[in-house]
Amino acid sequence: MPPSEHELRLRERLSRLRNMPLLGGAKLSGELERLQRQLDRMGEEPTDEEIWRSVELARNEKRPYTLDYVERLLDDWFELHGDRGRADDKAMVAGLGKLDGRTVALVGQQKGRDIQERAERRFGMSNPEGYLKAMRVMELANRLGFPVISLVDTPGAYPGVAAEQHGQGGTIAASQAVMARLTVPTVACVIGEGGSGGAIAIALADRVLMQEHAIYSVISPEGCAMILWRDAGEAKKAAAAFKPDAAHCLELGVIDGIVPEPPGGAHKDPDEAARLLGDAIREVLDELADVPGDELRRRRRARFRSLGVFA
């Protein structure tokens, strides 16, 4: 039987991955094995059920959030607050810390644990002030030569009246533009929901990773179902159609690697999840450490400018 088109694509992707320096280390090589297994078992495409399971795991309320990883990965964490103009948006955290003795800047959305914190942090949906805070901290890192780590976990940017008045769209664009100008190494990882513009605002990085059960999408499954099926209840169908899971994002070249999670998902063992995430981030930062800044920037722009499928 001739191999299916999908199998060919997966094989091609696999061979590209094998040649990637990123996969030299243990953790992401583990991912390579996983991909190989997936290929072996044929019908390797994640099923609609598996995709939906990732949607549920990505949104699991016990899933580790940005600050859970900060606590486990960074020493001397010092959170920086405020956009220096209007507000301190608690949906976005930003700060400095030490990763293996080197100073890094970290930005990321933060959902809340209990009802009160969730309201305060608006479930990780940033206002323009949150992106402005992230931008100023990334620019600070750029001035001082610190690598930037970005952890993406948001259903999307906050859709509010004030958010629009204060230029939500323009701020998301400006934040991407800041990232396209940085001359320090940058790594982004989607650790839960990578929701649309709210996610990409802090994800224009040299290397983009996703945790195994994270999702990354142009619109929420419910939003897509509402528009195309006129029924938010069709979210499962929508997710199956636009495939927000990590395996598909890897296949499309949108991400560079998948960070494994402990069995059952990151929430089952946050310490192990943090260790795996830390390993992946270290590997990327080591790989990028010796690349000159303008070369990093050139490659980063070229990476994103190559994305898309057309004839």
Partner: protein, 278 residues
């Protein structure tokens, strides 16, 4: 999941029957095709701006015979095999038939009052002006063409946002166009962005708001999230001018609102200003 409750106050009003495309939605004046074309699709009674097609826009801005289209043969593919109520490929074919375009953006070289520029013009009638891989690639090439020739880029947008049928690749067109503009800016060239109704979602959150000068047409909706989404989530009563160009001007998100008949002279002036030796 339960259906989203949409029973917010203003949604209870009965929906009026759809109007003829040549009938002004705000004052009900009706026009013949040639009258509208003559008036640049602006209602001569109340000033309402009807949607303007990409080819007509180019004809209204470029010097006669100066437009040289680029990347005209780019076509969308269907990377996800996307199927909602109908296959994406079918929607694409239908949009092509309806609009005579291959996707929602037309790019090319032009001159305006004798000054060279690059145009990137969107067409809302092609799948709601949604941005997928072809729009992203065309915009990216327009930036390169402008940089290579050392001329400013003028974009005119009309878009509902990213094209859902291309999934995550549609989202990736945001950073793609942003990176292209950064390359253009590094070459020392300017971009002028004109936002027509509507410029929302992913197009607003990427290249449309990164121009060196930001213009909008009167009454253009320029919001990241649509009014319905905002109302459903926040349950706030929306201001009457929610997300409109007028509100954006007041809040400092725009340089100017330019009525369509004044757009060409305005752009001409800006090209004169940008036409400095480098």
């Amino acid at each position: 999941m339960a259906k989203i409750d949409v029973s917010v106050e203003t949604d209870d009003k009965p929906v009026p029957p759809p109007k003829h495309p040549n009938t002004c939605p705000s004052c009900n004046s009706h026009y013949r095709d040639d009258e509208l074309e003559q008036a640049l699709w602006v209602c001569s009674h109340c000033g309402h701006h009807f949607p303007m097609r990409a080819r007509a826009r180019i004809a209204s801005l470029a010097d006669e015979g100066s437009f040289l289209e680029e990347a005209a043969d780019l076509h969308s593919e269907d990377p996800l095999g996307f199927f909602d109520l109908r296959p994406y490929t079918e929607r694409l074919a239908e949009a092509e038939m309806k609009t005579g375009l291959t996707d929602a953006m037309v790019i090319g070289q032009a001159s305006l009052d004798g000054r060279q520029c690059e145009l990137a013009i969107m067409d809302f009638s092609f799948m709601g002006g949604s941005m997928g891989s072809v729009v992203g690639e065309k915009f990216s090439r327009a930036c390169d063409s402008a940089a290579e020739r050392g001329v400013p880029l003028i974009s005119v947008t009309g878009s509902g946002g990213a094209r859902m049928q291309e999934g995550i690749l549609a989202l990736m067109q945001l950073p793609k166009t942003v990176a292209a503009i950064e390359d253009l800016h590094d070459s020392g060239r300017a971009m002028i962005s004109v936002m027509a109704h509507p410029t929302t979602g992913g197009v607003l959150a990427s290249f449309a708001t990164l121009g060196d000068v930001l213009l909008a047409e009167p009454g253009a909706l320029m919001s990241f999230a649509g009014p319905r989404v905002v109302q459903q989530l926040t349950r706030e009563k929306l201001p009457d001018d929610f997300g409109l160009a007028e509100q954006n001007l007041r809040f400092g998100n725009l340089d100017a609102i330019v009525p369509r008949p004044e757009l060409r002279p305005t752009l001409s002036k800006l090209l004169r200003l940008f036409d400095a030796p480098v």
